[in-house]
Symmetry: C2
Subunit: 584 residues, 2 copies
């Protein structure tokens, strides 16, 4: 039997009899006449129960409550002129019902489905199946489905093959924690759920599949932040015989196709920026380029100032950068600036100096201490004018970037500088190969250990070495990233060694992988995009739970089904594992 | 840079210079000239290294061995007439190389990639990335990708939404064993990997998504048979406001689209058969209809025979069925028939009687004991003629079906009665709601406990009750199955009770699910198809490992990466689990 889309009835359809189904969104009783907004995935149709016209008992219509699932048969008619509702697409028509069938009764629902107010998250998650009846919730899931459909359309057309890689994998913890799965057949051994299909997709290149993709489930047992989930999905692809340019071009076209298909927006060519420029200009490797307010360098100006605090910091290898808040100085009181100083301290800054420029002169504590010619030089170089606020951090580079980068975003948000309708994509390239971990006292791979160095000779100087890696950034979020991979077993071993992996570790974790490169490995490169992040940004939400059909809480539990839960002793016995007593 | 498909060069492309990449499939040395078959995903191209023409050192070309990955640049030319190879699509052309670059060297490979011989499975699995270079292996993975692409094309066009459901779920063991995942955040609790997305897809119907599908990963920790894997994929779909007819029609169209897209075969309308007819006629609920040889009933004939063994068995509720092996009696010796008798014993038959018909008379032990008029009646009813072999089992119905159903397939295979080019799809409908478990002394759901009974009154007589379930069968394999689901919480509870689930069990496992049905649940129905099985049958293989990129062995291990493996004590400590000592 045909299921009609309730939201698609129009004037051209009147005069015929239809049987339609849906949910009672709202019932209005007018004595002998009852109006119901009948909702389905496609929208609403007003259906009318008229005591005289209805063949079923009118009492049945009177028993309808919100969220009853019903089926009605009737004639589609044009509404009376004064009943036309121009706000909804079906506002000119209504169904005059002669038959009513209740398909599913509904108890009173724990929240009102259609009033688009904020719902308590705990309640929403427990009743996620009702939460998902809300247009707001449903449209996010539909958008996600449309995004993956557009991705597949595009990649299939480019002769990519979707190939599934295993979920029950080998545990090779590096970075994040693995979820592990005890093996019953081999007691004492465990599978791990994959953090990404990285190794498998590289093996598929060695197999000669040339163009692989997968909308791949990935897992990380991390302490969850608001935008993380224990399981997530990535648009994962890999190409043989491809350069970083090839991958970036392809992915750019793919993203354009997705944005065109889902939002009907034509994107311009994505700009490219080196990691170094991004850090210098935005204090971030994922700059939000929707507004202009840059980190300006004044290291050279302050290098020889008499102000010890600046001079000493620079002598110790620090840099000096400032943000200029143009023409908004009056918006920030002294105490507002104090709050900003507290804010940058979160990012490790020891302090922040500030200047206001008003009535053609600088004000603020350091205006008195800083040499006039330095102030003048700043004024000229940065074009400082009346009602500007200057915020200066002098510290080691990583702290300057992190603190002013974050402050830049905070101020832009406060002053409404960001055009939220923009989709600013950006490629960031030429990443450092390594980053130093203060905690572990060693260099770690900035992307991952399979990333190709730009210049193999530089591996000796890990602080200088660049990688052939690229990130795709959207509106200040890292949407995804990738790299050209190492395909030479000797080079792979060199990189592992530069990362301080022992022979033992290399052997245990990656022996088979290095072995695979010995049999004619092709050059290859790839990329992965976070599907949830992409859907969030296109869907206009900053809550990752909105874009997952059945999300988990920050403590990684499903409030609806109550997972995780206890399992039976028999299950544990079969796996030969025991729980530690909780009082141990 | 453009990657050409080596297998697609033709005469029309000659006279130009190309840079192509691929693997050395074979090298032939002819003194000053070396021929290499350069392989990629698309096929082969002959590339020629002529000492005079090559700009690179000729020694480099001489160093090429099988499976080297190389890049060559040269002019595409027409082959000399006597060098044309009509067996390969590029057989008229060759690339006269002037530049050679070795992209990846290759150690000697553990098996010859292109000779299509049987490879030791252990070696193939350990070097799966090389095994996947074989055309035989690669084409299965490509077919799988094409099948899922065709499925998605079809379902997207029908307004289905692909929605991902969780992998970290709640453990509700029913039937097969769950894989479980210890929770670090809630020590002592576990997630389970889903055996199917059944509950989630039904919740999505309650949410109003109306048409859902997913190419879904599923997991079962079972003792593996040859055609099972711990993780597998199903084409999973669900529709609201749909009857079993609606689902069957849709799925039939989907399968036709897939078979047309992947094999270019137009299928006829699929026949339908009730479960009862399938059992009676084929002894199987997944009959192979590619050949005619039915189970013939002779219960009425043998009910009053003087032969006690038959009469007694029928009196105790048994039935009598026979297979007639037409015109092939001479193929089976006395000892062959003895082997058949051993074979049916595997299926619980206590014995099997047989008759041969030759020179217009019956031969065999029972020909002497069975009354003449009975023999005559059999002869007439079943059209027995010379050189026929009659195989009779009299036992309880389940044993008769299982033994003769299996024997039917064995004989057809032996006699080559099966047209392997056929794709015989079949719907089997009207399944029993319950089946009695001798082991557990209780009725169990034949499909699953969410299946709608055909007639709710019949629930009192579980042996009679039919369900609104349907299986799709292909060439004797159950490709998939589905049902109309219960959408009424009272009925769901009744079925759980008929299955002997206690209130406690219902509450622990399904409380939230039954709760969900209280809020206007729509009628809904769905189906799941095993993707591996489907790919195997379309790909002409009976080894499930062939259709999985990285399969596991029968002991559920990955010989390539060596998963499962030991994990660190730190990992176990964080999860607060301990291993039982192996000597316990």
């Amino acid at each position: 039997m045909k299921k009609y889309n309730n939201g698609e009835f129009r004037i051209k359809d009147i005069g015929k009899t239809y049987t339609v189904q849906g949910w009672v969104n709202k019932r209005r009783d007018m004595g002998g006449v009852i109006f119901v907004d009948l909702r389905d995935r496609s929208g609403f149709l007003q259906v009318v129960f008229n005591r005289g016209f209805l063949k079923t008992e009118f009492e049945l219509a009177e028993s309808l409550r919100n969220e009853f699932c019903i089926e009605v048969t009737g004639e589609l008619i044009k509404r009376e002129e004064d009943m036309i509702n121009p706000k909804i697409p079906t506002g000119e028509v209504e169904l005059m019902v002669h038959d009513l069938k209740i398909l599913g009764e509904a108890d009173p629902v724990p929240f009102n489905i259609y009033e688009d107010k904020e719902i308590n998250e705990t309640v929403a998650l427990k009743y996620r199946y009702l939460d998902l009846r809300r247009e707001y919730a449903q449209e996010k899931i539909i958008l996600r489905s449309k995004i993956t459909t557009a991705v597949r359309e595009f990649l299939n057309r480019q002769d990519f093959l979707e190939i599934e890689t295993p979920i029950l994998c080998k545990s090779t913890p590096e970075g994040a924690r693995d979820y592990i799965v005890p093996s019953r057949v081999t007691p004492g051994s465990f599978y791990a759920l994959p953090q990404s299909p990285q190794i498998f997709k590289q093996l598929l290149m060695i197999s000669g599949f040339e163009k692989y993709y997968q909308i791949a489930k990935c897992f990380r047992d991390e302490d969850l932040r608001a935008d993380r989930q224990p399981e997530f999905t990535q648009i994962d692809l890999e190409m043989s015989f491809a350069s970083s340019e090839d991958v970036m071009n392809l992915v750019e076209e793919m993203i354009k196709h997705v944005v065109k298909s889902t939002k009907n927006i034509e994107l311009e060519k994505f700009p490219k920026m080196t990691w170094k420029d991004a850090m210098n200009k935005y204090g971030s490797d994922k700059p939000d380029t929707r507004f202009e307010m840059y980190l300006n360098d004044l290291t050279d100006i302050l290098r020889d100032t008499q102000m010890n605090v600046f001079r000493n910091a620079i002598e110790k290898g620090g840099i000096a950068k400032c943000l200029i808040v143009k023409n908004n100085g009056d918006k920030y009181s002294r105490s507002d600036v104090d709050h900003m100083i507290d804010f940058v301290k979160i990012y490790g800054a020891k302090g922040m100096a500030w200047l206001k420029f008003d009535n053609d002169q600088f004000n603020g504590v350091i205006a008195k201490n800083l040499e006039d010619e330095k102030l003048e030089e700043m004024k000229n170089r940065f074009g400082i004018s009346n009602n500007d606020l200057v915020l200066i951090v002098v510290d080691k580079p990583s702290v300057v970037y992190a603190s002013l980068g974050a402050l830049r975003l905070k101020i832009a948000e406060e002053l409404g500088l960001i055009d939220k309708s923009k989709l600013n994509f950006l490629w960031v390239v030429d990443f450092p190969m390594f980053e130093y971990s203060e905690k572990e006292h060693r260099y770690k791979a900035m992307h991952h250990p399979f990333t190709m160095p730009k210049n193999i000779e530089e591996l000796d100087q890990p602080e200088k070495a660049l990688s052939d890696a690229y990130d795709i950034v959207l509106n200040g979020y890292e949407l995804g990233g990738g790299s050209v991979r190492i395909h030479n077993p000797k080079m792979q071993r060199q990189v592992f060694e530069a990362l301080g992996l022992s022979d033992e570790e290399i052997k245990n974790k990656f022996a088979f992988f290095i072995e695979a490169f010995k049999y004619g490995a092709p050059p290859h490169a790839g990329l992965a995009i976070g599907l949830e992040r992409f859907t969030m940004l296109l869907g206009g939400t900053d809550n990752i739970k909105d874009v997952i059909a059945f999300p988990k809480t920050q403590s990684a539990s499903d409030l609806m089904s109550e997972a995780p839960n206890r399992v039976s002793q028999e299950q544990l016995d079969e796996l030969k594992i025991r729980l530690e007593e909780s009082d141990e």
